[in-house]
C-alpha cells in the first residue's frame, strides 16, 4: 500500500518548492540542475546576452504577397504540395505533449482518424494533454508541482510567477542546439523571425521554441465599409475630432457607431505608447503614466456621453460585438488583423469590413499603430526527455513545416476526402475535419504566420495593403519580449484595477482626474518595480 500513502515529506517539499519558486523567484539549491547557472535577477536575465538563432527564411516557400516586417499572404493554397521532409521525425519513441487549445476538444485517439494518421507520420505515438488557454496557469502550475510535464509542453512567455527559475529546474536548456547557426539543423525553426526568439531567452539561455505572431496580433478598428459607402462617408478622417464627427454621423436611435469604446485606437491617435516607451536617456515610461492618457480617456468618455457606443458594451464579449457589427447594429469594432477571417463566416452573405486606420489626434497624418506581441506562446522540452532533446526538436521542426508543403497541408487540414474537400482549388475542412484536427499542435510547433483566407483572395490582398501602409510606422512594446517577476506576479491584478477605473471613467461614474491618483498607487504597488526590472532586462539584452 506504500504507493498510495501520502508522503508527508514529498508533499511539503513540492509545496515549498513551488511556493518558493513563485514567491521568491530563486532557485532551490536542493534540486538545482548543475551547469545551469546560479541565482538570477527578478528580470530573469542575469545570464547575459545569448546569440539568438540565425534567421534563415525557408527557400522553398514564396508568398504571393510579401514585404519586410509584414505578414506574408497567400491568395490561394499551392496545388500539389510536395513533402519537405524525408520520413518521420524524432527517434520513433512515443512522447507526450502538454498543449494549449482555443477550440473545442477533438475525439479521443481511438475515434480520431487524424490523430492516428499523425502518429503514423510522426513514426511514434503522441499523447496530448489539452489545456484550455483560459485555464492554463492553474493547470501548468499544478502539473509542474506534480512533476508531470511531458516531453513537450507549451507555456506563455509571461504571467507565470518564477518562470525563469521554474524553467531552469524543469526544462531542457536548448541554447547549444539552437543558438546562432546551430539552428540550421532545423530549417523550419530557423525561419521563425528573430524577434520571436527573444521571448525564449530566460537567464541568458534559450528554453523554448516560439510560436511567432506580431503583425497579425495587432489590434485595429474595423468598419462596415459597405454601409459607410451607402451613406457617402469616406472613412479616412484627418483628426480625432473628424473621427468623432464620423462616429456621430452614423449613430441613430437604434444604431451605434461603436461596439465598444475603442481605447486602443484612441490611445494610438493621441500618441500614448504601446505598453511602455523608452526615451533617449533610456528611461522607461508606462502607457498608464503618459501625459496623453487623460486626453485619450476624455475622448473615450465623450463617445459614451454622446451615445455613440452600444449601451450593452460592458457586458458583451468580442464575439458579441462582432455579431452586432455584422448585423449593422454597430458599424465599427476593434479586433486583431487575425480576427478578420471570422467576419467572413458570420453571415450568409459576407459583409464588407475593412480596417480604418486612426489619424493623429491633432491632425497631420496617420497615427502609428501598436504592433502586437511577437510571440504567442513557447514550447519547451522537459528535462525528463533526457537524451531525446534533439529528437523532440526534430518533431517541433516537422510540425513547423512551411505553408504549402504536404506536411503543412496534412497538419492543418488532414486527409483529402476525409477531413477536407477541395473547393475551387482550396482545401475546406468538413465537419469531421473541424472536429478531429483540433489537437493543439498549431501551438506546439508552427512556422512563420501566413495570412491565408481560403476563398477570399481580395480580402487577403486588402489586408496586406493595410499592413503595407500601417506597419512601417507601427510601434512595438519594448517590454513584449522581456520578463519581469513583478509583472508575472502582480501585473494582471494591477492592470485589472486600472481597467476597472477606465470603465468607471468612460461610463461617467468617476472623473478623468481620478486616473492620476490611480497611477500613483499603481507605481507604488508594483509599477515602479516593473519599470526597474524591464530597464535592467533591457540593458542586459542590449548590452
Amino acid at each position: 500500500m506504500s504507493e498510495i500513502r501520502i508522503d508527508r515529506r514529498r508533499l511539503l517539499q513540492s509545496t515549498l518548492a513551488l511556493g518558493g519558486l513563485a514567491a521568491l523567484g530563486v532557485s532551490m539549491s536542493s534540486c538545482s540542475n548543475d551547469g545551469r547557472g546560479d541565482g538570477e535577477s527578478p528580470s530573469g536575465s542575469s545570464g547575459g546576452s545569448v546569440a539568438l538563432p540565425t534567421y534563415v527564411p525557408y527557400p522553398g516557400f514564396t508568398a504571393d504577397l510579401s514585404g519586410d516586417g509584414l505578414t506574408p499572404a497567400m491568395l490561394s493554397y499551392p496545388s500539389n504540395p510536395e513533402p519537405v521532409t524525408d520520413g518521420p521525425p524524432g527517434d520513433g519513441q512515443d512522447f507526450g505533449a502538454f498543449a494549449l487549445t482555443n477550440t473545442p476538444i477533438p475525439p479521443a485517439l481511438d475515434q480520431n482518424q487524424f490523430w492516428q494518421s499523425l502518429n503514423e507520420r510522426l513514426g511514434a505515438g503522441m499523447s496530448v494533454s489539452l489545456v484550455p488557454s483560459g485555464d492554463f496557469t492553474d493547470r501548468f502550475q499544478t502539473t509542474v508541482a506534480g512533476d508531470r510535464l511531458p516531453e513537450l509542453f507549451t507555456y506563455w512567455p509571461k504571467g507565470i510567477p518564477g518562470l525563469p527559475s521554474l524553467l531552469r529546474e524543469r526544462a531542457a536548456d536548448l541554447t547549444d542546439l539552437l543558438s546562432g547557426d546551430a539552428i540550421k539543423a532545423y530549417p523550419f525553426l530557423a525561419s521563425i523571425p528573430t524577434e520571436s526568439w527573444k521571448s525564449a531567452v530566460y537567464g541568458g539561455r534559450i528554453y523554448g521554441v516560439p510560436i511567432a505572431r506580431a503583425v497579425q496580433s495587432t489590434v485595429v478598428l474595423y468598419g462596415r465599409t459597405d454601409l459607410l459607402a451607402q451613406q457617402g462617408i469616406d472613412p479616412s478622417p484627418s483628426s480625432w475630432d473628424e473621427m468623432h464627427a464620423m462616429f456621430a454621423e452614423v449613430s441613430s436611435s437604434n444604431t451605434w457607431a461603436l461596439a465598444s469604446v475603442p481605447m486602443q485606437i484612441i490611445r494610438q491617435s493621441f500618441g500614448v505608447p504601446n505598453g511602455w516607451s523608452i526615451d533617449d536617456g533610456g528611461t522607461w515610461t508606462s502607457a498608464f503614466e503618459h501625459e496623453a492618457q487623460l486626453e485619450a480617456l476624455e475622448a473615450g468618455r465623450k463617445l459614451v456621453e454622446d451615445g455613440l457606443v452600444h449601451p450593452d458594451t460592458t457586458s458583451s464579449d468580442n464575439q458579441q460585438r462582432k455579431t452586432w457589427t455584422v448585423a449593422g447594429t454597430t458599424w465599427f469594432v476593434e479586433d486583431t488583423f487575425s480576427g478578420r477571417p471570422a467576419f467572413a463566416n458570420m453571415a450568409a452573405t459576407p459583409v464588407d469590413v475593412d480596417v480604418v486606420l486612426p489619424p493623429l489626434a491633432g491632425g497631420g497624418g496617420m497615427a502609428p499603430i501598436w504592433l502586437g506581441a511577437p510571440t504567442h506562446n513557447l514550447t519547451g522540452i522537459s528535462l525528463k526527455a533526457g537524451d531525446r532533446v534533439e529528437a523532440m526538436l526534430d518533431v517541433l521542426n516537422w510540425l513547423s513545416a512551411p505553408f504549402g508543403s504536404a506536411e503543412h497541408l496534412f497538419k492543418n487540414y488532414g486527409i483529402e476526402g476525409v477531413h477536407y474537400d477541395v473547393v475551387d482549388g482550396e482545401p475546406v475542412l468538413n465537419d469531421k475535419g473541424r472536429s478531429e484536427t483540433k489537437l493543439g499542435i498549431e501551438y506546439l510547433g508552427q512556422g512563420p504566420f501566413v495570412s491565408y483566407l481560403p476563398g477570399f483572395p481580395d480580402v487577403a490582398e486588402s489586408m496586406f495593403e493595410v499592413q503595407r501602409e500601417a506597419i512601417p510606422t507601427a510601434v512595438a512594446n519594448p517590454a513584449a519580449t522581456l520578463f519581469s517577476e513583478t509583472e508575472s506576479r502582480k501585473g494582471t491584478q494591477l492592470s485589472t484595477t486600472m481597467t476597472d477605473l477606465e470603465t468607471d471613467i468612460l461610463q461617467g461614474r468617476k472623473p478623468v482626474s481620478a486616473w492620476t491618483d490611480a497611477v500613483a498607487t499603481w507605481k507604488q504597488d508594483g509599477g515602479d518595480a516593473m519599470r526597474q526590472e524591464f530597464e535592467q532586462a533591457h540593458a542586459e539584452n542590449v548590452g
Binding site: P104, T323, R434
Partner: protein, 310 residues
C-alpha cells in the same frame, strides 16, 4: 353543522364576500395589480429560458440580424446541436458525467449520512473533535497545489475517482444531516434499543428511513454539484477523453473561437457563437431538469430541516 362551524366555513371560502380567513377579500383593482406583477415576475423568469431555447434553434441569419438573442425563431435550425454533437466527444462526456454523478452522489450520500449519524449520537467516541474537524473544513481551503499533490499521491490522477473522492463529503451537507438526526425523538431510538436494535440497526432501520426527505435534498445538492463540476477534472485529468460534460462544453463557451473559423472556406457558414452557447446551455441543463421533478416533493420539507435547529 353548528352555526359556529357554518360561519367559520363561510369565512374560509369567502362566500359572505367580506373575509377570507379573517383577511378582507381583495378588490378587483388589487387583483389586477397582483396579476400584472406576478405575470411580470413570471416573464422575467421564463423569458430568458424561452430566449435560450429559441436562440439555440434559430437560423444563423436571424441570430446575426438580431445581434445575438432571439425570442421567437423564424424556423428550426439544428446546426448548432449538430456541430456540438459531431465526433462523439459530447456524447462520451455525457456518459462520463452521468456515471460520475450517479456514483459520486451515491458515495457522498452514504458517507454524509454515516458521518451525520455518528456526529449526532451523543457519547460516541471522538464526537466533539470530529465535529470540530468537519467545521474547520468549512473555514479553510486546502488550496489548489496541495490538493493536487494529495490526489497525485493517492494515485487518483487521470481516473474518474479524482473528480469524485476529493469532493465526496461536504461539511455543509453533513451539518444539515446531523441537525436532522439530532432532531429525531430520543424516545423512538430508546424503544428500538429496548427491542434489541444495535447502533447499526438503528441507523439503517430508523435513521435512514426517517431521513429520506433530507437525504433527497442533500442528494440533489451533491448531484447538481457533481454534474456542474469542471475544475477538478481540468486539474486532475489530462486525458481529455475522460473529461466530464461541463468541461467539454466549457471549451465551446470560453475558448470557442468560432470553431477555428480562420481555417474555413467560403462554403462553410458556422452557427454564430451565441447559438452554440445557447445549445450548450440546453444540453447541460436537460438532465437536471429531468431529475428535479422526482425530488421536488421532498425539497420543501427537506429544506426546512435544520432551519430552526442548528
Amino acid at each position: 353543522m353548528s352555526s359556529a362551524e357554518t360561519a367559520s366555513s363561510a369565512r374560509r371560502t369567502g362566500r359572505s364576500g367580506a373575509l377570507i380567513d379573517g383577511v378582507p377579500r381583495p378588490g378587483r383593482v388589487e387583483n389586477v395589480i397582483k396579476a400584472v406583477v406576478l405575470t411580470a415576475i413570471c416573464a422575467v423568469v421564463i423569458l430568458p429560458f424561452i430566449g435560450i431555447i429559441s436562440t439555440s434553434l434559430a437560423p444563423a441569419d436571424q441570430v446575426t440580424r438580431a445581434g445575438g438573442f432571439v425570442l421567437l425563431p423564424e424556423g428550426i435550425d439544428l446546426t448548432a446541436y449538430r456541430s456540438i454533437l459531431t465526433g462523439g466527444v459530447v456524447t462520451r462526456a455525457l456518459l462520463i458525467s452521468s456515471v460520475v454523478t450517479a456514483v459520486g452522489t451515491a458515495l457522498s450520500l452514504t458517507l454524509t449520512a454515516m458521518l451525520g449519524w455518528a456526529l449526532s449520537r451523543r457519547g460516541s467516541i471522538g464526537n466533539r473533535p470530529l465535529l470540530l474537524l468537519v467545521l474547520v473544513s468549512l473555514l479553510f481551503n486546502p488550496g489548489i497545489i496541495p490538493s493536487y499533490l494529495v490526489v497525485q499521491q493517492l494515485g487518483l490522477l487521470d481516473t474518474l475517482w479524482a473528480i469524485i473522492i476529493p469532493t465526496s463529503v461536504s461539511a455543509f451537507n453533513v451539518i444539515v444531516v446531523r441537525a436532522f438526526f439530532v432532531g429525531l425523538p430520543q424516545e423512538v431510538m430508546d424503544s428500538a434499543r429496548i427491542d434489541g436494535a444495535g447502533e447499526w440497526k438503528l441507523f439503517v432501520h430508523m435513521g435512514l428511513p426517517l431521513a429520506r426527505p433530507v437525504l433527497a435534498v442533500v442528494g440533489l445538492f451533491y448531484g447538481v454539484g457533481y454534474w456542474n463540476a469542471f475544475f477538478n477534472a481540468l486539474l486532475y485529468i489530462s486525458d481529455s477523453a475522460l473529461w466530464p460534460l461541463q468541461l467539454v462544453l466549457r471549451t465551446y463557451v470560453v475558448d470557442g473561437t468560432q470553431l477555428g473559423a480562420q481555417d474555413l472556406g467560403p462554403e462553410v457558414s458556422l452557427p454564430p457563437q451565441t447559438t452554440i452557447q445557447m445549445a450548450i446551455l440546453v444540453i447541460s441543463i436537460i438532465p437536471i431538469l429531468i431529475v428535479y421533478p422526482f425530488l421536488q416533493r421532498h425539497f420543501a420539507k427537506g429544506m426546512l430541516t435544520g432551519a430552526v435547529k442548528g
